[in-house]
Amino acid sequence: MTGYIVRRIAAVIPVAIGVATLTFLIIHLVPGDPVVAMLGDTAPQADIEGMRHRLGLDRPLPEQFVSFLCGLLHGDLGESITFRRSVSSLISERYPATLELAGAGMLVAIAIAFPLGFIAGAKPGGAGDVASMGFAIAGISIPHIYLGPLLMIVFSLDLRWLPLTGRGGFAHLVLPAITLGTALAAILARMLRQSLITVRESDYMRTALSKGLTPRAALLRHGLRNSLTSVVTLIGLQIGGLLSGALITEIIFSWPGLGRLLISAINLRDYPLVEGCVLTFAMTYVVVNLLTDLTYAFIDPRVRYS
């Protein structure tokens, strides 16, 4: 297993270089000028050229790219053109907020999806199944931009149970996490239902039932664990959707996360900051998927890493 982990971590390097290359090329090739955004269009041409030289933007693109990659390999993401501070310090200020929101969204998704998926999968076609899958369809269909304000009106304004916006204690996290986690909960619930229905037809389930276990107990003790592999795979794959959903949720709930920093950076064509933020998101995705792969062994002891 150690060898597998080392190989997977080593595989992160080409992924990081690939993401960095793509991000670098895209942001440099789209129209827009960070120096004009910084100095304004009343700036003397000499100042604009001077700043371009100081930032190295007058060098050929391949040279800029090599310099960027060298910095990256030394762990240096450069300095934000707009904020005149190191990119890593700006990211480290915002990343915890995004992780907190995405993590809470994931917990909400799991907390909703597992009971719903189990109820639906335990008795397909029953009332529980219809109700659970009705929720799943509603959860997938309602966009964050509608669900967020709706939750605010009910829980913050009418009932006054929770704060409206901003980042603070646990109470501030509840509504953004529900907004973010609902759609994922719906997807996971459907997947779990489907897996449980498949598992119900397995030989080992029939054996369990013939040994006298009730259908519910057999499903809980044997079926659920065997269904988890596909659900965990889906969780890993959905982390990208969760992070991009976090971006919209951050705007609705005035949540000071990395997504809003990335939007500012894109608007201002702050190249180093865009590259740093995208790389951070990409690495989060890679790490979560690595952890997902490692989880398989805990869920299913038959899984062997080679």
Partner: protein
């Protein structure tokens, strides 16, 4: 404490580097300047007690005594010199340097006298004296541990969390009345629906020009809120690209102007939160001249002008134009309305929407036939020079439509070198008439200042520029005694 909701985070807390709207609005409350504008766009002394012109190229400012920064230090002429010198130093890369390039020197012969010398007669020099002042030795942004430099304004900044909030607290050295606010919280709330909800629930006390017009009727029914509407100076326009031979023909530009039903847009889309504009300068500006050519909605006249210009309906030689704009819901609605209006006179408008940086790049590079933008925050009519003088085409200026007219150039040169106010007013009257005849821009509207505020606040005086300076003198009604 008063809570003010703002839609985007201020970018810079140092007034030497702040150019975005919210940085400027907040910095006005924290820092002070030699002069400020009154509600008619005229200068009034502030840190300066008085000022005088000495010849055509010098302004001498006599400063008030015993004015203090929030750290207790007295504001002296050395602070003024330091602030301007640090902006003008190219090594510091201040985005404000371009606007101050006409300043040859700033001298402080003694602690209470500032001499500003320009590199020639320059009528709008006083606009430079609106620069907010920081103390001598203030480090560059990112090189100081403090939230913001000390200022001589009514408040000091005690916290700044980008994309979250800015908290201001009374400057202990600034005179204040007992019932004026001790603290102001500027909270960044990007979502317009949430801003409206916060007002409804009394979480937010004050918002200016960031509530969607369609929500205002609902907010006006809320007993705890009041809405104040007053004329503003922000100017929305459609610009033509003069590099396109079709648009170089004044008849075509006039035809397009006649085809736009601006009253309908202002009433239906802006829901009465704007006024149809006759030109760049609004009636609130001292140099405004409303006696200019107007283009009321008249599709028949528009079609007639197009026919005269040789672009008959159905012919392939014109009637297809590209309009670009920045992606916002408001701009999308305007673009769609414009497309429908021009279609009525036979012009097919291809509308292209992009996020700001791409849009702005297209504007700078002339990749458009028509484009729409807004001018915000200018005060002196010399702004015409930046946008219509033939020497000011990109990349060195903002004449993005590449408009060129020797008569306009002559008038604009005269306007910036004539120091007599009455003579300048006459010159800019001619500029406004020429601009309305020639139509490098089709004027659309001036945005109103729309304030939604808690009824318990009183004494706020809106300014045409949208300044929030009056928040310093707002009074908060004491809570009612339940007995």
């Amino acid at each position: 404490m008063i809570q003010v909701d703002i839609e985007t985070s201020p970018q810079a807390t140092d007034p030497r580097f702040a150019t975005d709207v919210y940085s400027s609005r907040i910095n006005e409350l924290v820092f002070d300047s030699l002069v400020r504008l009154d509600n008619h766009g005229r200068f009034e002394p502030h840190l300066a007690e008085s000022y005088e012109r000495r010849g055509a190229e010098q302004i001498v400012f006599h400063m008030r005594h015993s004015v203090r920064f929030s750290d207790g230090r007295e504001v002296t002429a050395r602070d003024i010199k330091f602030t301007f010198d640090s902006i003008l130093d190219p090594a510091n890369a201040s985005p404000k340097r371009g606007a101050l390039m006409h300043i040859k020197s700033i001298d402080a012969p003694d602690d209470y006298t500032v001499v500003m010398a320009t590199d020639g007669p320059y009528a709008p020099a006083l606009t430079s004296a609106m620069q907010e002042i920081v103390p001598v030795g203030t480090p560059l942004p990112g090189k100081s541990g403090s939230v913001a430099p000390a200022g001589a304004g009514p408040f000091r900044m005690v916290s700044f969390h980008r994309d979250e909030s800015v908290v201001l607290e009374r400057n202990p050295y600034y005179r204040a009345t007992a019932d004026s606010p001790r603290m102001i919280l500027f909270k960044v709330v990007p979502d317009p629906t949430v801003r409206a909800l916060e007002l409804t629930e009394g979480i937010c006390d004050f918002s200016e020009n960031n509530i969607q017009p369609e929500v205002l009727p609902y907010l006006s029914t809320q007993p705890q809120l009041k809405i104040i509407k007053s004329p503003g100076t922000s100017y929305r326009y459609v610009a033509f690209n003069f590099n396109d031979p079709r648009l170089r023909d004044a008849r075509v530009r006039r035809a397009i102007a006649y085809a736009i039903d601006r009253d309908a847009i202002v009433n239906s889309m802006m829901l009465g939160t704007a006024r149809v504009a006759s030109g760049l300068l609004s009636p609130q500006n001292w140099a405004y001249d409303g006696d200019v050519a107007k283009y009321p909605f008249d599709p028949a006249k528009s079609r007639e002008l197009l026919e005269q210009a040789g672009y008959s309906v159905g012919a392939d030689n014109m009637r297809n134009l590209r309009f670009i704009y920045k992606t916002t819901p408001e701009q999308l609605r305007f673009a769609t309305a414009l497309q429908a209006m021009l279609k009525r006179v036979g012009i097919e408008l291809d509308i292209r929407s992009n996020e700001f940086a791409t849009f702005y790049s297209d504007v700078q590079h002339g990749n458009f036939d028509l484009m729409s933008l807004q001018w915000v925050g200018f005060s002196d009519p010399d702004h015409y020079y930046s946008i219509f003088d033939s020497k000011m085409m990109p990349p060195i200026g903002m004449n993005r439509g590449h408009y060129s007219n020797p008569e306009m150039d002559r008038l604009l040169d005269a306007g910036r070198t004539t120091l007599d106010v009455d003579a300048r007013r006459k010159i800019y009257g001619q500029v406004q008439q020429l601009a309305a005849d020639e139509l490098p821009y089709v004027s659309l509207w001036w945005d109103d200042i729309v304030i939604v505020m808690n009824r318990d606040l009183s004494g706020f005086e809106p300014t045409p520029s949208g300044s929030l300076r009056s928040l310093a003198t707002v009074r908060i009604a004491p809570p009612e005694n339940p007995n």
